[in-house]
């Protein structure tokens, strides 16, 4: 307990002068008077002109932005199912359509063989060369390298998985059908194994499809690419029939497999809406607000929250790496502006990697578990925001969650904080320092930790501090985690002032032991990267400056905690890396083809 607590900062009481609406809080514990400098952000209801009655989506009605195989994907899946059905019918009823297909194949192959000419044969060999094993390998490795260079890892994984699946399907179908090569013609090119489905055609088609969906942006370019792939595969198929290597139906079945598997894999596992292929310098965490997504968000806001949105636009993208921040305009006047954070599967993946990294770096201290779905992630942030608000912290009012695509894409809607700047760009006075310290005190009293105290998450609006981004907040955090919040807040506040001033103000709210604990707990990676970057840019070691102000030296709190989980995770990651490195050559060069 501190003795001789000074009087409240002079700015306390100027709220009305600043024209802010809000609720003043009384000290909760009675011990630290600075808590009542906190003012909640006044909740501004959406204007009536921008509101409507929410509408429940009836069963069976598609969500605002449904998962989309598109008509072409459905057509290819339909073709694959039709082939499967025909084959099943052939097996079960002994129908003669199999013989009819072979007769038709024979007629075509015979016709082509009868028309063989030296020039045509040379041309056919040149075209069929494209589907040669070495040539397709070169194409495949090139495509994978290009995806790696573009850091398109998800596309790369989907491509590898799709190609392996194509290869497995080809083998299975081949084993099941056991079809010989074309009868009564001399094969003029190499072949291997049973004829149906044509392995070179299936692999070539799949490789081209993977390259198309992993490297070519959606739109005209991809459409042109599809046409090109169609022409090339068609030419190869014709050439192989001419050379007596394949029957036409062998190639057609191969094309169905080679197109359907990558197409479905990419559209379901790396959908363009979430993982767009583009070559601008846009951060991958940010989803593009395409016209379809724009309309879907507007529709979802109207149906689920009863908010009639006029416009949606990306907002302050530079400060957000974990979601796509949006400014939502509703009703056409300032009160109608809302803030949205769009979350999708890629953000969930980022969250998982982030938490895995922290578990490997720190061990059991963090006590973090990754979310298992986007829905859970967004629900948690909304819940944490409501907790912070209920605890009297100055946070934007939560409006709820909107579902865009079930289990894939959600929008967290909160109050927009207009005319606000990051604390790193604002003038920091004693009042603001006191507000920052009071925020941490309130978090401590409420049994919460924000866990991401950095300039980008502390806004200053008309001299008042607003805490944003509750994504990492923790209920009943470890004492270490709470101490880190305090140190990070003091470091942020000292960025544009002096450590002695911040320290003196902190002593009004925290004991010297608590402050010492904070700086003993905080160092290096426990500080947000933005904070570390700003300190480096200033060339100041604020952490050391604070430690010098402490009455006695502090011993760093060990942040390396080993547990069975951490040891297991570390071993698993090392094993996965070793396995990947060991299998990379086979994966890239040989086995997939």
């Amino acid at each position: 307990m501190l003795a001789g607590r000074p009087s409240r900062p002079s700015v306390d009481g100027n709220l009305e002068q600043k024209g802010l609406r809000g609720t003043r809080f009384r000290p909760t514990g009675g011990a630290y008077g600075l808590q009542d400098v906190l003012v909640t952000v006044a909740s501004r209801p959406v204007p009536a002109s921008a509101r409507t009655t929410p509408r429940r989506r009836p069963s069976g009605e598609p969500p605002p932005l449904p998962r989309n195989l598109a008509w072409s994907g459905k057509t290819w899946v339909g073709a694959a199912l039709l082939l499967l059905l025909l084959y099943a019918l052939h097996l079960t009823t002994g129908s003669s359509w199999g013989a009819a297909v072979t007769r038709a194949d024979q007629a075509v192959v015979q016709l082509l063989a009868d028309g063989r000419r030296p020039g045509l044969t040379s041309a056919a060999r040149a075209v069929a060369w494209v589907a040669g094993s070495t040539e397709v390998q070169v194409l495949w490795v090139g495509a994978l390298l290009a995806m790696s260079a573009a850091r398109r890892w998800r596309h790369l994984l989907v491509a590898v998985g799709a190609l392996v699946l194509v290869r497995v399907l080809v083998e299975l179908v081949s084993l099941q059908v056991q079809r010989p090569r074309p009868y009564a013609v001399t094969a003029l090119g190499p072949w291997e194994g049973f004829a149906m489905p044509s392995r070179p055609v299936a692999v070539l088609t799949a490789v081209l499809m993977c390259a198309l969906y992993g490297l070519v942006p959606q739109g005209r370019l991809r459409q042109a690419g599809k046409a090109l792939v169609g022409l090339l595969v068609g030419a190869v198929l014709l050439a192989r029939c001419y050379l007596g290597q394949d029957n036409p139906s062998d190639g057609l079945v191969a094309v169905v497999i080679g197109v359907t598997v990558p197409l479905v894999a990419f559209r379901l596992l790396a959908p363009y809406e979430v993982f767009p292929v583009q070559y601008s310098r846009r951060r991958t965490a940010h989803l593009e607000i395409t016209p379809a997504r724009h309309d879907a968000v507007c529709r979802a806001l109207r149906d689920q929250l009863g908010v009639i949105a006029d416009d949606i636009e990306p907002f302050a993208l530079a400060g957000s790496g974990g979601s796509t921040p949006l400014r939502i305009r509703a009703g056409g006047h300032p009160e109608g502006v809302l803030f949205g954070k769009l979350y999708a599967a890629n953000h969930l993946r980022s969250d998982r990697w982030y938490k895995l990294g922290r578990a490997l770096l720190y061990g059991g201290l963090e006590d973090e578990k990754a979310f298992n779905s986007v829905r859970r992630l967004v629900q948690y942030e909304d819940y944490a925001l409501r907790l912070l608000r209920d605890a009297g912290l100055p946070v934007p009012a939560p409006y709820g969650i909107v579902e865009i695509t079930p289990e894939r894409e959600y929008l967290l809607v909160t109050q927009f904080v207009p005319d606000a700047v990051e604390v790193g760009e604002a003038r920091i006075d004693v009042d603001l320092i006191d507000q920052g310290l009071a925020v941490v005190r309130r978090l401590w009293d409420a049994g919460l930790a924000h866990r991401d105290i950095k300039p980008a998450n502390l806004l200053v609006q008309h001299g008042r501090l607003v805490l944003i981004d509750s994504a990492f907040s923790e209920v009943r955090p470890s004492p270490w985690r709470q101490a880190v919040d305090l140190a990070n807040m003091m470091l942020v506040l000292a960025l544009r002032t002096d450590p002695p001033l911040v320290y003196e103000r902190a002593r009004l709210v925290f004991t010297e032991d608590e402050i010492a604990e904070a700086f003993a707990a905080t160092r290096g990676l426990t500080m947000p990267s933005q904070l570390r970057r700003l300190m480096r840019a200033q060339g100041r070691d604020l952490h050391a400056e604070f430690k010098r102000l402490l009455p006695r030296p502090v011993h760093p709190i060990a942040i390396q905690h080993w547990s069975a989980r951490r040891a297991g995770l570390t071993l698993a990651v090392l094993a996965a890396v070793a396995l990947l490195v060991a299998s990379a050559p086979a994966l890239l060069l040989g086995s997939s083809l």
Binding site: V168, E171, Q178, P180, Y183, V185, A187, W191, L587, S592
Partner: protein
């Protein structure tokens, strides 16, 4: 393990599974005069000049069916060891091609009608290593032995019982029958 990790592991495992060129079926001869095994038809297509197609008549007790690989110009099948001590061993591999180099081999009386037989012994102990050639019109079947164990010489003899030949004409007749007289295995003479 996360779903992503699991997918990666499955992918890598699956990628290893598809490396083999094994057709996954056996080159069994079938009943006398019957040729309903598509592998034999495919082997005949691989070596269009071969008048006899080697096949598996029966599998000796200590062996099992091995890899079958058919490509234009050559077809092969193998026996694998049934012993748990040497599961990767390939005691006999049979390769059909349009000709064989029998240099250094000794011609011996054949046990297969329509063929001439050569033997080339490379090593007897501790492992029996040698080749046997059956040469016939338009083709040759080479049997490569790599046999170990005390009964290895006996196993060489058993190979004669294990390997049989299906005449190309039987396969042609089978194709013709399947196509109701409209299909032919081989191109008509003179066709390019």
């Amino acid at each position: 393990m996360s779903r992503c990790g699991l997918a990666l592991a499955v992918t890598i495992l699956l990628s290893g599974c598809v490396q083999s060129s094994d057709l996954g079926v056996d080159a069994e001869c079938g009943d006398a005069g019957q040729a309903d095994n598509p592998v034999l038809t495919l082997m005949a297509q691989a070596v269009p000049s071969a008048t006899l197609i080697p096949c598996v008549r029966l599998v000796p007790a200590s062996w099992r069916h091995g890899e079958v690989d058919v490509r234009r110009g050559e077809a092969s099948f193998a026996f694998a060891s049934a012993s748990v001590d040497s599961p990767d061993a390939v005691p006999v591999r049979v390769v059909l091609s349009d000709g064989c180099d029998v240099t250094g081999a000794t011609e011996v009386p054949t046990d297969e009608p329509g063929t001439r037989r050569w033997e080339r012994l490379r090593q007897v102990a501790p492992t029996y290593v040698g080749d046997r050639f059956y040469v016939f019109d338009g083709g040759c079947a080479r049997l490569s032995f790599t046999l170990s164990g005390t009964d290895r010489v006996q196993a060489v003899g058993e190979a004669s019982l294990a390997i049989g030949f299906t005449p190309r004409g039987v396969l042609q007749a089978a194709v013709r029958e399947r196509g109701e007289g409209r299909w032919e295995l081989d191109p008509s003479p003179g066709q390019r």
